[in-house]
Amino acid sequence: MRDTVAPARREAGSSMRRIYAVILRHLFVMRRSLPRVLELAYWPTMQMLLWGFITMFFLRHSSWVAEAAGVLISAVLLWDILFRSNLGVSLSFMEEMWARNLAPLFVSPLRPHELALAMMIMSLIRTVISVTPAALLSLPLYDVWVFSLGLPLVAFFFSLLMFGWSIGLFVSSLVLRFGLGAESLAWVAIFAIQPFSGVYYPVATLPDWLEWVSGLLPSSYVFEGMRAVLFDGRFRVDLFLASLALNLVYLALTAGWFVYSIHVARRRGLLLQQGE
């Protein structure tokens, strides 16, 4: 044991560097745990297998599906982008709670919006790891190359990613408020919007009195847009802009609510009580 240690040199810590620190913290966990990385890819792959076979069945029995090969498989993949994007945010937040690491984080110079940004970037990383193997598998298994959607796929991906971030921030705020008893919301909440998003069928299939719900969901415009590309071969800019506008509104609202939830947590002492 030495008696002296060189003094620390503090730099004007940049926002980017603090965001990088939080991302690094999650990458450290991921790189050590192969099962975690495999688990990320496991469910999308399983979904791909299941729905791939369902598609094969429909191809033989349904003219609707036969009109556009891969419509269901593409829908499965896009849905998983939304699902994983949501989980990517909420799991990153809950990992801090499970580790009882919220208090040290919040007494560091890390700002709440920086934490939210770091969780979103982690969500992007987790989502890419999750869906890429399934997307690649769809070619040899079902002769469906989802990347043939072309540039619209990029638009769909980021639109769903943003909506997933909003849901993830919303769930994280609830978990912060109600504790880890609410953690199952991360997996469950998103399925509440699935029937209204028109993932596997056109929104017009819904009863008239429910269609307005679809109109509020950015995801419904993405899936309608996907079908427009696959069936008509055209990218519907109007649908994309509608989803983008809704995403910006929801992201602003949920990010604001997340920051406000942290403020409430500081008022109620919730940051001191979190943990398993």
């Binding site: 044991m1 030495r2 008696d3 002296t4 240690v5 060189a6 003094p7 620390a8 040199r9 503090r10 730099e11 004007a12 810590g13 940049s14 560097r17 603090r18 990088y20 620190a21 939080v22 690094l24 913290r25 450290f28 966990v29 050590r32 745990s33 990992e95 801090e96 580790a99 009882r100 690491n101 208090a103 040290p104 984080l105 919040f106 007494v107 560091s108 110079p109 890390l110 700002r111 403020h263 500081r266 008022r267 109620r268 002492g269 940051l271 001191l272 943990g275």
Partner: protein, 245 residues
């Protein structure tokens, strides 16, 4: 701190307390369970918002401009963990970035040597013993060489040897850097040994204050533990004098 209060519904966890911590001193918040020590530290750190009052650190209003102050302070508590699956080194790298440390590798190496944690730098934090975790938490809290170090029961659940080692280290740290230390503790020996000033807390209020020697003399007791018991059991100095033979 001026007029600081924190209420949870009808319960006053901290009730209109005022105190200053002189620069370079080691000050203890002393009191029984529920006295308000941890709440006071949490408010100082910005983890908890007070119901009323003012907190100024280095002249800056913590309630309005905490991010100007946070790089200059740090804390350690056995009740707060670092991620268990991350190795000690990874944890320190992450916090090094959060605090904007210039040369993280060199800083970690220096602290690791100083705190004798080199041999388990690459082990997951969750696999460490309580004593090792305490030293790691201390390393994390010293990464930015804080000008104000807040410690919540820094030697709780440690064996006497490790606890003594930690106290000696903190004494040397303060001597070398001139840092200010505010600690909450139940350990009277620790407080008598380390602290220049003591703030005695009971049910959210500061009921007495002074140096350990002053308090011992004021209550006519042999040590701080007896003073603590007097205060905890509601015996006043005047009662004691009246009772004295």
């Amino acid at each position: 701190m001026r007029g600081l209060s924190k209420r949870f519904g009808p319960v006053a966890a901290v009730d209109a307390i005022d105190f200053d911590v002189p620069e370079g001193s080691t000050t203890a918040l002393l009191g029984g369970n529920g006295a308000g020590k941890t709440t006071t530290i949490a408010i100082l750190l910005g983890l908890l918002l007070p119901t009323a009052g003012e907190v100024r650190l280095f002249g800056t209003d913590m309630l309005r401009q905490r991010y100007r102050v946070l790089p200059r302070i740090n804390f350690s508590s056995p009740y707060v963990d670092l991620p268990r699956r991350l190795t000690v080194r990874e944890n320190l790298v992450v916090y090094g970035h959060l605090y904007g440390i210039a040369d993280i590798g060199a800083r970690i190496a220096a602290l690791a040597g100083d705190l004798d944690i080199e041999q388990f730098l690459d082990r997951p934090n969750g696999s460490l013993s309580a004593g090792q975790k305490t030293r790691v938490a201390l390393a994390k809290s010293l990464l930015n060489e804080p000008e104000l170090l807040l410690l919540d029961e820094p030697t709780a659940s440690l064996d006497p040897d490790t606890a003594d080692w930690i106290r000696s280290y903190l004494e040397r740290f303060r001597e070398r850097t001139g840092a200010t230390i505010l600690l909450a503790s139940h350990n009277m020996g620790e407080v008598e040994r380390m602290c220049d000033r003591v703030l005695m807390m009971k049910t959210g209020r500061i009921v007495d204050r002074g140096s350990p020697a002053e308090l011992v003399a004021r209550y006519g007791r042999a040590n701080l533990e007896e003073v603590f018991l007097d205060i905890a059991r509601g015996r006043r100095q005047s009662d004691e004098r009246a009772d004295a033979p």
